[in-house]
Symmetry: C2
Subunit: 408 residues, 2 copies
């Protein structure tokens, strides 16, 4: 048999999806599975945008331009300008979801000798994309004790070496739910300017900030036009993960030119997804107000249930829709697989994402899990009933290492 | 300003799309541009499949599974089995177009020290994808004199070295229109088995064979289940390039497992595109019969017009919908840009893809162009009027190097 690539043998496996076969098994066994592993909300997608695709006259389903459909980009531009952002049309590039946006940014800015600083736990697929781009992630470990707050600016400064080309943060953070302040971002911006490196910010969850008044985008940092690139997507904001529409916002024309070169190889992002996403821009603000209210309720359910369980360490997240919790177990990979394959509670079980996969450092986060609160309150309550019951009977249960419930 | 990656500075530029700014300029000048540079047909997309998206009940536009929507994969499987192919469900993987299919295959099978043998001229983006995968293309040059027939099996054999991991061919060939016989494929298959390397076949144009009775798929090669991977797509067959739906067909479970790992990072191919593509399977065979008839007419127009022009060397392609022709010019890059920026004929001009970009070898094909016959006969006639007029006034016209019109 011909040999596969060595890299594929060593390739990182997505903690979010790698247990899919076990989940299929659980369903085949007739169990009801609550999917808290993946950020796939059960919120209704705006019907008006689905209707826009129905209404579209599509005699020929053509390629879109590599940068995205112009009318869509123009409308997006207008929306940003109306909010006071100083962008131009050429600063907007439409991609196959935020996933491809990051891949393209990495190809444009990083060579194989380069590294990128990323606080961990991090969105797991960053690790996969950096592997695909042959670049290295240099992680800065955050801690559950302070709600996974960003490492100090001194820690970032100390971590920059001659091969560091960028800092990448996710704000609000997936998987921790931490939201970073204007002050923190300004500090990071200064640091990037000082070292003349890029600041990539994944703002996919910007609509989901629960405690502070306004979200501060890295695009609002002054004098950092050449350094900042923002990744965004319609997936989470509009419960439209299947559209596969994201975008890169960046005011550095050289970066956009390099992205365009790589993007031309894949021709274009999906045309129907772009028609859909263009229509999303007209969705009334009330949609997001309602969605946010709904997530605030869900967060309360999840946090109160987790807080009430013995030996679980967690904190109330300020944004996004995940809690990154520490469980009284040794090995979350085993626990999550066991939940699907060997456990059930009243015919139900839950799928969680094991924590270690969200760390680029090895051996960290093995007793942690990411729990998405993307299901309605009733489902979440039932899912938490499952977790509570599971922790009572899991054969490898341990005592928690830190006792206190953390208030952020 | 922070430095971009070195690789992006050296990155190959798509000959198919790199002149897009010049085309925009031509349109802004009020010229009618005939787009013969890109394989974007003007054939109507099957309305029933567009209708299937309209009829779909999509309360939440969810992620699809990483491998693709199961009902779609099952239906595709049935179609292949009905045609006598011995495939299983796990041998089918849905991708973001054939583009992503090739990227995933390269990640799964090639490391950065590895090379892949590809006859040239080749589909230009193969070069881009191999750069992104950090692998090397080792080209085998084909010649216009014999209609760009496949190099001899001895030439392939001699080119295999210790780092060769695969042979990649496109059948029917983009950009040359050559169609490879069962005998040729069988020989190639034996060679791959002998050296224990992969055989990747891009069969995106399999519906477009004009002269021979039946297309022979590499999936029909016996005893090569571990070696063969086929790339396909709905883009060309159903004039649905904007769906961004392709797939990988491969019976080697290790390859599919590696592909799955990488594909999980990008989560899924577009959901609406998959609903659409699933409905395409029900499109009546007559659609493709009619489309093929139409392309045969267009081929005749293009070939007869090109043959009648002085000093052009070309041949009648047997498949796909491109002619790769040699023009009486020194530098097709300059000529194609000049056509858009400095030329017009009765308010019209044409966009062609310069030939050198389809070669991985440098300095080859500089007097060649790829011409797609994706427009209707009337448009093609007008486009050829433009070409004929252009060659009369182009300031750097040369004599052709080879005089005869080639009959394949």
């Amino acid at each position: 048999m011909p040999k596969l690539s060595k890299r594929s043998g060593m390739a990182y496996e997505s903690p979010i999806r790698k247990l899919a076969p076990s989940a299929n098994l659980a369903e085949a066994q007739g169990k009801k599975v609550f999917y808290l592993n993946i950020g796939q909300p059960d919120i209704l997608t705006p019907a008006s945008a689905i209707q826009a695709v129905r209404d579209a006259d599509i005699p020929i389903l053509k390629y879109a331009p590599a940068k995205g459909i112009t009318s869509f980009r123009k409308k997006l531009l207008k929306q940003y300008r109306d909010r006071g952002f100083q962008l131009d049309l050429e600063d907007i590039f439409i991609t196959n979801g935020a996933s491809e946006a990051l891949q393209l940014l990495m190809m444009a800015c990083l060579d194989s000798v380069d590294n990128i600083l990323v606080p961990e736990p991090m969105y797991a697929n960053y690790i996969g994309f950096s592997e695909m781009a042959n670049a290295t992630i240099k992680p800065l470990t955050c801690h559950i004790e302070n709600g996974f707050d960003l490492p100090s600016i001194e820690a970032f400064d100390a971590a920059v070496d001659e091969h560091t080309k960028a800092i990448l943060i996710c704000n609000p953070n997936n998987p921790t739910g931490a939201v970073y302040t204007k002050e923190k971002l300004t500090e990071l911006g200064h640091l990037c300017k000082k070292h003349d490196i890029f600041l990539f910010v994944d703002e996919v969850y910007s609509a989901f900030c629960y405690d502070d008044e306004t979200f501060f985008s890295a695009l609002q940092l002054e004098g950092l036009e050449d350094h900042v690139a923002v990744i965004d997507s319609v997936s989470k904001r509009f419960s439209a993960c299947g559209a596969r529409i994201g975008y890169i916002l960046c005011q550095n024309p050289k970066v956009m030119e390099a992205i365009n070169k790589y993007a031309q190889f894949r021709l274009s992002a999906p045309t129907m997804g772009q028609i859909f996403a263009e229509a999303l821009i007209d969705v009334k603000d009330q949609y997001l107000v309602d969605v946010k209210d709904e997530y605030i309720k869900r967060r309360a359910v999840l946090y109160s249930r987790l807080s009430a369980m013995e030996d679980i360490v967690c904190y109330q997240p300020s944004g996004a829709f995940y809690v990154f919790a520490q469980l009284p177990i040794e090995n979350a990979d085993h626990f999550c697989q066991w939940l699907l394959e060997d456990f059930e509670y009243k015919g139900m079980t839950i799928m969680l994402a094991p924590g270690s996969g969200f760390y680029a450092s090895s051996g960290v986060g093995q007793d942690q899990v990411r729990i998405a609160y993307v299901l309605n309150e009733q489902d979440l309550e039932q899912a938490m009933d499952c977790l509570e019951a599971a922790l009572k009977v899991y054969p490898y249960r341990t005592k928690a290492r830190t006792r206190e419930i953390i208030e952020v």
